[in-house]
Symmetry: D2
Subunit: 107 residues, 4 copies
Amino acid sequence: MNTETYQPCIEACDACAAACDRCASACLSEPGVANMAKCIRLNADCASLCRFTSAALARQSHLAPEFCALCARICDECADECARHAPEHCGTCSDACRMCAEACRAI
Amino acid sequence: MNTETYQPCIEACDACAAACDRCASACLSEPGVANMAKCIRLNADCASLCRFTSAALARQSHLAPEFCALCARICDECADECARHAPEHCGTCSDACRMCAEACRAI
Amino acid sequence: MNTETYQPCIEACDACAAACDRCASACLSEPGVANMAKCIRLNADCASLCRFTSAALARQSHLAPEFCALCARICDECADECARHAPEHCGTCSDACRMCAEACRAI
Amino acid sequence: MNTETYQPCIEACDACAAACDRCASACLSEPGVANMAKCIRLNADCASLCRFTSAALARQSHLAPEFCALCARICDECADECARHAPEHCGTCSDACRMCAEACRAI
């Protein structure tokens, strides 16, 4: 695959990372933050793996498929957890995670 | 500033980071790679500071202005160095660095 | 400065990053997590800037002094905030932040 | 596993990341840099995955074993490539990669 082929996945990873960091930050300001701990933990794993994967794709790493497979898995977990919570930022994050998981599986 | 206000800068940082990682990777395949060492070094600083800054903006860090100021500076340096080289990836990267520097200075 | 000169600062940055990530994770399991939000936010900024700075030092980046100056500043803030909290992980983190700030100012 | 159990692997990941970043930077100054391109590419993958893994271990991520498995794999590849090159920084890096791969497989 060439650089152009990776572009949609790079954008999905970047969008997912931003959504996860936003969600974690907003969760910390929620009145029921104690119930959001698992969400915040998954956001941290997902945001940093998405940024790592995005960088690896831009570098055309030969291990891109392996990185994307693991990234899709953590995106799925984060999407599931976010979907269990009411705040809008969780819903937005869940959607971004689903799109990123799909884009990663297409690599 | 709120999350929406930061969005253009987050996108500029992400685009710049990807352009820098691509440029570094392409530089390594250039016949005259020895002449590209400084470019590759600046690409590494710029890509990682852009990703750090993008994440800090998404987290609504209260130090976002300080991070953006430093990010703008390294983007300027990387843009200048890339502009000295002929390959297309260097020109693309130089443009992305300029746009990111501007977006960072707007914070 | 050469690679050996940077080594103590690299180790202080790595130790501080690990202490911050541990502190944030432990804060999320504290009964009074709502009171730890500011600590968790600063931990995130500090951990990621320390990792960025450590990498820049290892790469012998010419901007190492600028990165270290900003890193010292965020380490100071995180040390102050952690020092306000009772849990042991906060005390450990505060100490690691102080040592990292000092090592960064020595660059 | 608890925080103390992860500590040796965190330290091995941090040492490996620093060795990889140093090796890449030193490779760029070698007279035969064109022959070091593969080494520099693997250094980039390995350094960033080691830093990601170190952070995930410090956060006590429940996916630590999966991250460590992938980290061990890229460490092995980087160790093999570095072992093919004469410069001292490549030998040092190869050793750090082997130790990190072992520590990751112990998780």
